[in-house]
């Protein structure tokens, strides 16, 4: 069974993604921040991280960079629903979904996905990144 960690500050997003992937037969854990995700990664073996980009404190792009550095074997999918210029969660590297995701890709994400996505898109992306059917 493959282990997936879903990182998003929005509980609804986090839970719904977990629900879909649980049903698809993955072992899914969640984290609500990049810090928590890094701690979780250190604690348990993980094959794939699905992380949001716009998050308070440490943003997704930085999270991707850190994960790539500390856990090079972990695959990463970045998800984002577009720019938000709220003072607290400002992300200088992004102004639009495209720019966010481009930044995430540059930081080392294996795949990017625009919110909202369909169930089949999510599953197919996970399969693609985990190399199901290619192994």
């Amino acid at each position: 069974m493959q282990h997936i960690l879903v990182v998003d500050d929005e509980p609804d997003v986090r839970d719904s993604v977990k629900y879909v992937l649980d049903r698809a037969g993955y072992s899914v854990r969640t984290a609500e921040s990049a810090m928590e995700a890094l701690a979780e990664l250190a604690r348990n073996p993980t094959d794939l991280v699905i992380t949001d980009i716009v998050m308070p404190q440490v943003n997704g792009v930085e999270a991707v960079e850190s994960i790539r550095k500390a856990f090079p074997a972990v695959r990463i999918i970045a998800i984002s629903g577009g720019g938000n210029f709220g003072v607290t969660d400002y992300q200088p590297s992004a102004i639009t979904t495209t720019a966010y995701l481009a930044a995430a890709e540059r930081a080392g994400a294996h795949l990017v996905l625009t919110k909202p996505f369909e169930t089949f898109e999510l599953i197919r992306s996970v399969e693609q990144v985990l190399g199901v059917g290619h192994a």
Partner: protein, 494 residues
């Protein structure tokens, strides 16, 4: 009393007539006097000479002794000497020519002047002294023929002068017409010019040098006026066009700023809604998968899913507002072109107190960027710079140069450095630190949303470029953007 204004030719003609009215009578009387005098002198000369010659004849020829001889000589005076009366008088004896007029009174002395006595006869009395004879020759010459000759001469002179007057008037009229025709033409053209018609050329053909020169000068002036007028019209047109262009540019800028604000707002809302849509879509979709096809709530869930997808589309549509930013396409571009284009736009909008300078390398490698976004970036930095110099004179410098080994920390690849430098107020270090934060602004409320520099930062990052800022209070601020230089054309694989 209104001033009398006559035309040019009437003036000249009247002048000529007046001059002649004064001159001609004087000439007539003067010349008449001379003619009269000469005729009279001639007449008197003749009368006296004839009388002396006749008297000599009496003295020399001893004619006094013969009555017949005396009568012959007296008759000769009548028939050949022009006299109308001839008498020889000697001591009570009077012999008269029978041809002479008998009505003429005698016994008077020699007339001193022509016309004396009022009888039309000029009298010459000559003494004849011979031997013992003491006689007087009395001759009366008729003044009438001379009088008539004088009158005839005067009449002829009068006619001549009258003819002369007529000829002079005719000449004056012709001459003044010839003079006034080019003047009329000049008048017509200058009137046309004063009413705004510069197209009529002054083709004045005249032999009068002054008028010809005047016409030439006026024509030159007209040419000059046509030129000035054309230049003025061109200038006005240019100004109108630049005014229109300026308005157009301002409209573009306002539109752009509005788009930017709307885009930012839309992107914020989009983020929220997109996040909300994730659980809606995922849960509904999985619920649908779980429900048997005959299940009653299934149709409702299908509608929920459709509605969520529509919401997704709506958000996408809203996001097209910020498509410029959102759909940035990175391509190899020449930053010099972007700068030139932005400068063109900016120089029309910048206040005249600001001098714009450029320091641009002649040869620059391409950079990977989106030209629209790069222009947006430049405009934002320029606007920021001129707002920092607002109300004062200042210099805005835009620079582009290639740096093989950039001095900025962390950067080792060759870069194209692009900088915008102002001589404005400058910022303190606390401000510099927060300068790229959204909604951070030193401007008063209503002057700007404070998004400009955060947008700049976002664009720069999306290009994979780096931005730095240096500022000194009272000296100015310089923003530097380091674009990774694309390999030069000759180094690129073809």
């Amino acid at each position: 009393m209104p001033r009398l204004r006559a035309t040019f030719w009437i003036y000249i003609t009247a002048f000529v007539v007046l001059v002649h009215l004064v001159l001609l009578p004087a000439l007539y009387f003067g010349m008449g006097y001379v003619v009269r005098e000469s005729h009279e002198d001639l007449f008197i000369e003749h009368a006296r000479t004839f009388s002396r010659v006749l008297a000599d004849e009496f003295e020399v020829g001893v004619a006094l002794d013969s009555q017949a001889r005396i009568e012959d000589l007296l008759d000769f005076a009548i028939t050949h000497g022009g006299a109308r009366y001839a008498e020889l008088y000697e001591r009570g004896r009077s012999i008269r020519s029978l041809y002479g007029s008998s009505e003429i009174k005698t016994s008077r002395s020699t007339d001193l002047s022509f016309g004396q006595g009022g009888d039309g006869i000029y009298f010459v009395v000559r003494p004849i002294v011979h031997a013992s004879h003491r006689a007087e020759l009395r001759l009366g010459f008729d003044e009438q023929p001379t009088q008539e000759r004088i009158q005839l001469a005067l009449t002829r002179m009068l006619w001549l002068l009258a003819g002369y007057l007529v000829v002079a008037i005719v000449i004056a009229i012709i001459l003044s017409h010839r003079l006034s025709r080019p003047i009329q033409r000049l008048k017509a053209v200058s009137r046309a010019i004063s009413s705004g018609d510069y197209t009529r050329a002054l083709n004045v053909n005249t032999g009068i040098r002054e008028l010809h020169e005047l016409a030439e000068d006026l024509e030159a002036m007209r040419h000059e006026l046509v030129g000035v007028n054309d230049r003025l019209e061109a200038k006005i047109k240019e100004k109108e066009i630049s005014e229109v262009r300026r308005e157009e540019l301002q409209k573009q800028l306002r539109h752009r700023q509005r788009l930017e604000t709307v885009g930012t707002l839309a992107s914020g809302i989009a983020h929220e809604i997109n996040n909300v849509l994730v659980p809606i879509i995922l849960y509904t979709d999985t619920a649908l998968q779980d429900l048997p096809t005959s299940s009653a709530p299934r149709a409702n869930l299908v509608r929920v899913l459709a509605a969520a997808r529509r919401a997704k589309d709506v958000v996408k549509k809203i996001l097209t507002f910020s498509r410029e930013l959102g759909e940035a396409k990175l391509a190899l571009i020449d930053l010099r072109e972007v700068v030139a284009e932005a400068l063109h736009l900016f120089s029309a909008l910048a206040p005249p107190t600001i001098e714009i300078r450029t320091e641009i390398d002649e040869s620059l490698p391409f950079v990977r960027a989106d030209s629209t976004l790069a222009a947006h970036l430049l405009m934002n930095l320029c606007t920021n710079a001129y707002q920092a110099m607002e109300g004062a004179k200042g210099t805005l410098t835009i620079g582009l140069r290639y740096q093989e080994h950039p001095t900025v920390v962390r950067l080792s690849q060759p870069r194209v450095e692009f900088w915008v430098s102002d001589t404005g107020r400058g910022m303190n270090s606390a401000t510099v630190e927060r300068i790229f934060e959204p909604f951070f602004t030193t401007r008063s409320v209503g002057q700007g949303a404070g998004l400009g520099l955060s947008v700049v930062h976002g664009i720069v990052e999306s290009f994979g470029a780096t931005i730095t800022v240096e500022s000194k209070i009272g000296v100015g601020t310089t923003f530097r953007i380091f674009f990774p230089a694309a390999p030069r054309l000759e180094e690129m694989e073809l």
